[in-house]
């Protein structure tokens, strides 16, 4: 399912034929390195990185295999628990990698790689730490998922709105004003597209981002333990906003087209998403007039690192070299410019891209007090999010909750019990 660019295809074909020729003569030296990613749009990027290595590693055969995130996580779990035959570069969110590391399923990075990661000139402490467990470096930081508000400037202008919303109250106002309706009053273009259905933990993650704007968090660390922290004012405010959007103001419906696709097709006026939308929109809707804005208080930042597992020592070395090559400024600038994910490496001059695409500024020009948060690195994080997501999906679709704070709070409280039970089972529930 890779949508490789023509360049990539040609490069790969060349590599294959080169590989075939080599296989005839020096079969022992040809090395396979497999790249497993969860973001199909990064395929071209990895192909470029592979090309960049071809001088130094002429026998290297890089196989880039990105698939959808949910399937990617499953194959990583299966692959690592049973052992990988080929040297594999794994693209993982730091919090996800943690459970493999504590179970000794991911090897620590070799010294030279660790030095590269530890070099303060390369990565800020926040990113270094997400690739480190107990002082040992296991991965190489690459990019991060960070959210901002995307808004359709034409629609805002039509609604007489000047500039993006800056507080959560304004989000509600804007959503109400931006919603377009048919003769019966049913919304045809949503004012603010929210993640309201689907499988997996995404719904809970998006809820957390909104809740963060009200000063809350789904999970609260106490020492090295955690407890659920959403049955409170912030949680209620976030849930109230969702329920009101669906059942009160009716600025969005559950079955409306949502997310980037809807935004690019003019079916929603605003939504919160990561920076890849910029690269995606450039490809799919280059005519769209839109801008981005900081979120009121801060955003999620999910750092993605590259880890290595499996294969011979020599192949592993090549795989680590791939992780370093991926962090070369020329590739990172290409990544930002063409794909839109935010590179984590410091000291690279991205200004050319940001000037050409001002939409990136809401992702990189962050004020001092902009509050970034990330998912905690705990084993049951996925289960917690998935189960809370199931509760949220039901709540969003329940019109009887509209205006009923007590019922919403009761719902959050019972969900909190479930979350705490999961934490307790994992032995990390804070008292």
């Amino acid at each position: 399912m890779t949508f490789r660019g023509r360049n990539g295809t040609v490069a790969r074909a060349t590599m294959w034929s080169a590989g075939l020729m080599l296989a005839g003569t020096l079969s022992a030296q040809a090395q396979d390195v497999v790249i497993w990613g969860g973001f199909p749009e990064l395929a071209d990027f990895y192909e470029r990185v592979a090309e960049g290595m071809s001088d130094e590693y002429p026998d290297l055969n890089v196989i880039v295999e990105p698939i959808g995130l949910r399937d990617h996580e499953k194959r990583v779990a299966l692959g690592l628990s049973s052992g990988l035959d080929d040297a594999t570069v794994l693209e993982l969110i730091g919090s996800t990698a943690n459970r493999y590391i504590v179970n000794d399923l991911l090897p620590p990075a070799p010294d030279d790689i660790a030095d590269f990661v530890n070099d303060a000139g390369n990565f800020e402490p926040f990113f270094r730490d997400t690739a480190t467990v107990d002082g040992t470096v296991y991965g190489v930081p690459l990019f991060r998922g960070q959210g901002a508000l995307f808004y359709n400037t034409d629609m805002l202008a039509e609604a007489g709105l000047d500039g993006p919303p800056t507080t959560m109250e304004e989000y509600d106002d804007y959503a109400a004003k931006l919603t377009q309706r048919d003769a019966d009053g049913n919304p045809t273009v949503s004012g603010w597209s929210l993640r309201l259905s689907g499988g997996g933990g995404g719904i809970a993650e998006k809820f957390w981002i909104n809740m963060h704007q009200f000063g809350g968090a789904l999970l609260e660390p106490v020492g090295d333990k955690y407890r659920a922290a959403y049955a409170n004012e912030a949680g209620l405010a976030a849930l109230r906003q969702y329920v009101n959007a669906v059942s009160g103001d009716k600025t969005v419906t559950i079955d409306m087209p949502a997310d980037a696709a809807a935004f690019q097709r003019g079916q929603t006026a605003m939504f919160i998403r990561e920076s890849w939308v910029i690269g995606d929109t450039e490809k799919k809707a280059p005519e769209l007039n839109y801008d981005t804005a900081l979120l009121p208080r801060g955003s999620i930042a999910l750092p993605v690192n590259l880890y290595v597992s499996g294969g011979s020592d020599a192949a592993q070395d090549a795989a680590w070299a791939f992780a370093i090559e991926a962090n070369k400024p020329e590739h990172l600038i290409w990544l930002l410019d063409n794909v839109g994910w935010l590179p984590n490496r410091a000291g690279v001059d991205y200004s050319g891209v940001i000037e050409a695409k001002p939409q990136f500024s809401a992702f990189v020009d962050l004020p001092e007090d902009y509050d970034l948060f990330t998912l905690p690195s705990i084993e049951p994080i996925n289960e917690i999010l998935t189960r809370f997501a199931a509760v949220l999906t039901e709540a969003f679709a329940d019109p009887s909750l509209a205006g009923d704070d007590a019922a919403m709070m009761a719902l959050l409280e019972s969900a909190e019990e479930e979350t705490n039970a999961i934490l307790d089972r994992a032995g990390i529930l804070a008292e």
Partner: protein, 278 residues
């Protein structure tokens, strides 16, 4: 109106009804194929069009150039064919033996195995995964096959047919002529079972061809995907591009449907011959 004319008229009406029912059953697939020829813009038109207004081959070109769809089809074909061979061979032998060799020990084991037919594959799929892993057969057709080597229903089907269509006298006569047991199986039993074996072959082939849960956990290499896994990954990564997804689906669906249409007679007659009266 004569009774004959009335019967003819009612038959005509039945034919018309049946025709529409069949059409309704095929409609989803027809629409899927039609969607493969639509432009992305046309997919968003309301009300939806049934036949594409400006048919385009673009989707198919994109799908075939940018995914190893042919490779996936080949993998599926290889997997389904090998599984078919394994199932036909094991079922023929085992079905014949349990039907004609009334040894108690064998029958007890047979009944035990037959009961596993009702145990869903998904129940024991995870331990099986670790067995395949231990063999180092993940990401290979061998690994896939391990889940699809035998079929309880196949043994049962052959057993019923042997009982129904192969008289003991025939086998005894051959034995008196000095034929060896394997010779009898190969030259007398198998030819007589051609119909049911063909039916079983088609059934086994399509069982493997449409397998989903097992391949999706054993295959992680893009080059080793079967079409089901390839398409599932393709669709989860590109949910938005419905016309592309439809083109990919149509491209893999059409040959399998054609294959079935060609083999249908075998299949229906084989099942019919299987003496489902039991």
């Amino acid at each position: 109106m004569s009774a004959k004319a009335r019967a003819r008229r009612s038959n005509f009406l039945i034919d018309v009804c049946l025709f529409f029912i069949c059409l309704a059953l095929l409609l989803p697939l027809i629409m899927l194929i039609a969607n493969g020829f639509k432009t992305p813009a046309e997919m968003l038109v309301w009300p939806p069009t049934i036949l594409p207004r400006n048919p385009t081959l673009e989707n198919f070109v994109t799908v075939f150039t940018e995914t190893p769809l042919l490779r996936w089809m080949f993998n599926s074909l290889a997997f389904a064919t090998l599984s078919m061979i394994a199932i036909v061979a094991t079922s023929a032998l085992a079905g014949y033996v349990v039907a004609k060799f009334p040894f108690r020990s064998i029958n007890v084991i047979f009944i035990l195995f037959l009961t596993t037919a009702i145990i869903p594959f998904e129940v024991y799929m995870i331990p099986l995964y670790f067995q395949v892993k231990a063999l180092g057969a993940l990401n290979s057709i061998t690994g896939l096959l391990i889940g699809y080597l035998v079929m309880s229903f196949g043994i049962f089907l052959i057993r019923q047919n042997v009982i129904a269509s192969i008289p003991d006298e025939l086998l005894e006569a051959a034995r008196i002529d000095g034929a060896g047991e394997f010779w009898i199986f190969r030259h007398i039993v198998v030819p007589l079972l051609r119909g049911p074996l063909a039916a079983l072959a088609v059934l086994a082939f399509f069982q493997a061809w449409t397998a989903f849960a097992w391949p999706i956990i054993t295959l992680t290499r893009k080059t080793s995907f079967t079409i089901e896994v390839g398409l599932a990954n393709f669709q989860s990564a590109y949910t938005v591009e419905l016309s592309l997804l439809s083109a990919a689906s149509a491209a893999v669906m059409v040959p399998s449907v054609l294959a079935f249409v060609l083999l249908r007679r075998n299949f229906v007659e084989g099942i019919a011959a299987s003496g489902m009266k039991e």
